[in-house]
């Protein structure tokens, strides 16, 4: 797990820039969509399932395998549940105001 100074610095750049992007993008979301926002952002950090897969690839002993399995389960719950529940909420916002009457 030896990272070169260049890799570390690149990661730091990405980190800082991504933080600004997150701040800017979310500032423009109206209050009425804040609940789907929270749940949608929640789904995005479900990307941790990729991390769980990466540690599963190198898991050797039984302890590591059990922990990796658990990580994959939790990560999948986060990602699947997060996107599905957000979609359910946003589906209801889809109707145009006057279609109904």
């Amino acid at each position: 797990m030896e990272l070169s100074a260049f890799e570390l610095l690149s990661a730091l750049f990405i980190l800082i820039l991504a933080a600004f992007v997150g701040y800017e993008v979310v500032s423009k979301v109206p209050t009425m969509l804040h609940t789907p926002l929270m749940s949608g952002a929640n789904a995005v950090h479900g990307v941790i399932v990729v991390g769980a897969m990466l540690v599963a690839a190198t898991a050797g002993g039984p302890v590591a395998i059990i922990l990796a399995l658990l990580a994959v389960i939790l990560g999948t719950i986060n990602v699947v549940g997060g996107f599905v529940v957000t979609d359910r909420m946003l589906e209801m916002f889809k109707k145009r105001p006057d279609e109904r009457r």
């Binding site: 926002l37 997060g82 599905v84 105001p97």
Partner: protein, 453 residues
């Protein structure tokens, strides 16, 4: 760098762009759903790519397949079955799952590397990122579980405090920092690392227990941000830019959302986290109730009053959602509109259990979203409104927020008390979620209709 690595970077880039767009498209209800689906597609891409291209993963394929199947079924069922009123708890539990996964990834990485290089110090950047992932992920996991319990009513919603609890929290925090420094600078001892994780888990419980149920949505939003940071830390450890970018995005967006929510309640984040809001509310509420003279109105009179008004503003609260009254409220709106009454909904920023929650609940009942007005838009209109119908809302219309000395002093409220007539639909005579008495209910213009909301 071989072709496969280049392609992997490009996949990360595509996925990151879809995540950013998923959040960006939430700026308008018209594009929001498409954005979310785009994000899901990006996620599917990066997961599939990782599965087929990671060295050694195909040998351990069953871990992914079994884990993925269990997780998908659990996540899918939870997401499809949860009633809209229980959304904050659901977000809490999904967030806890993500935090737990991040903590586990950090733990497995640490154990593996400590095992590969026994007795050696690990690279400093690696240790710091791993420890951060482990502590923040653990706090997020147990904190979210407690928040879920409080929102679901499994755990008491009252702030749970015992003498010296803040000292215990501080001691736990210092212990974690101390052990962390030892692990990084002296020796990466595995037993000590496990102790580090165990204390972090306790810390999550310890931090959330003293916070009242009414503040849980803020806590969920904050923990959401924590999980994002934990994911970013593991992205650092695994040198995976998809994790790094997605985690940071969520970390930043969760932080600003938390800030917005605090602002809507006119409180600072420190106040939310450490003040144990609502502690003394009980006694005050009980004392005030005896003196209040509440006037009741019959349902028929209420109907006549509204039907002959020119403008009616409906102020929905969480009580309406609990009683599943969104449908009947919409029918009432249709009837009134058919009679030529101008009907609008006044949505307080924290109506429901979290910002925007009420919009979701009313959208579910097909209330057109152009009738929903935000507080700043509608507050001036109350003065020439014939009837303000308050349905299951309490604290957000409590005029004592304008005066000094109330626990909610300074919180922005809806100016319901300026309307010509006020009808309050309520389940019972008790105080609201925050446990504060509401003088609006004994106002001479106010009539109460006790019943299903």
């Amino acid at each position: 760098m071989d072709t496969l690595e280049v392609l992997t970077f490009l996949v990360w880039l595509i996925a990151s762009v879809t995540f950013i767009l998923a959040l960006k498209f939430l700026a308008s209800p018209a594009t929001a759903r498409r954005g979310n689906q785009l994000g899901a597609a990006g996620m599917a891409l990066v997961v599939t790519w990782t599965f087929f291209t990671t060295d050694g993963l195909l040998a351990n394929w069953w871990i992914i397949v079994v884990g993925g199947a269990i997780g998908s079924v659990a996540g899918w069922l939870g997401a499809k079955r949860v009633p809209m009123t229980a959304m904050p708890q659901m977000v809490a539990i999904f967030n806890g799952a993500g935090g737990g996964a991040a903590a586990l990834v950090a733990v497995v990485e640490f154990l593996r590397d400590a095992d590969l290089h026994p007795g050696e110090l690990l690279p400093l950047a690696f240790v710091i990122a791993t420890l951060l992932g482990a502590i923040i992920g653990s706090v997020s996991l147990t904190g979210s579980v407690v928040a879920f319990g409080k929102l679901q009513g499994v755990i008491s919603g009252r702030p749970v405090k015992y003498p010296g609890s803040q000292i215990v929290t501080a001691a736990l925090f210092l212990a974690v920092v101390g052990i962390g420094i030892y692990l990084a600078a002296v020796s990466p001892s595995i037993p000590l690392f496990l102790l580090f994780v165990a204390i972090s888990l306790v810390l999550g419980v310890q931090l959330v227990m003293p916070i009242g149920g009414a503040d849980m949505p803020v806590v969920v939003s904050l923990l959401n941000s924590y999980t994002g940071i934990a994911v970013a830390a593991t992205g650092f450890v695994l040198n995976n830019y998809a994790l790094l970018i997605a985690g940071t995005l969520v970390g930043a967006s969760g932080a600003i959302l938390t800030q917005l929510m605090c602002k809507a309640m006119n409180r600072s984040i420190f106040n939310v986290l450490f003040a144990g809001f609502g502690t003394g509310g009980d006694a005050a509420a009980a004392g005030a109730e005896g003196e209040e003279q509440l006037r009741e109105i019959s349902a028929d009179d209420a109907a006549v009053l509204m039907a002959y008004g020119k403008r009616v503003i409906i102020v929905p609260g969480y009580g309406m959602a609990v009683a599943q009254a969104q449908g009947p409220v919409r029918e009432l709106m249709d009837l009134l509109v058919a009679r030529g009454v101008d009907v609008q909904f006044a949505i307080h920023p924290v109506a429901g259990r979290m910002p925007g929650h009420m919009n979701v609940l009313l959208a579910e009942a097909n209330v057109p979203y152009d009738r929903l007005k935000e507080m700043d838009e509608i507050n001036e209109d109350f003065a020439d409104t014939d009837v303000a119908l308050v349905i299951g809302a309490n604290d957000v219309v409590n005029p004592s927020a304008r005066e000094e000395g109330s626990p909610i002093s300074g919180m922005p409220i809806l100016n319901v008390d300026q309307a010509h007539n006020i009808i309050v639909l309520k389940r019972g005579r008790g105080a609201g979620f925050a446990g504060i008495p509401n003088p609006l209910f004994s106002n001479e213009k106010t009539t109460m209709l006790f019943g299903d909301a």
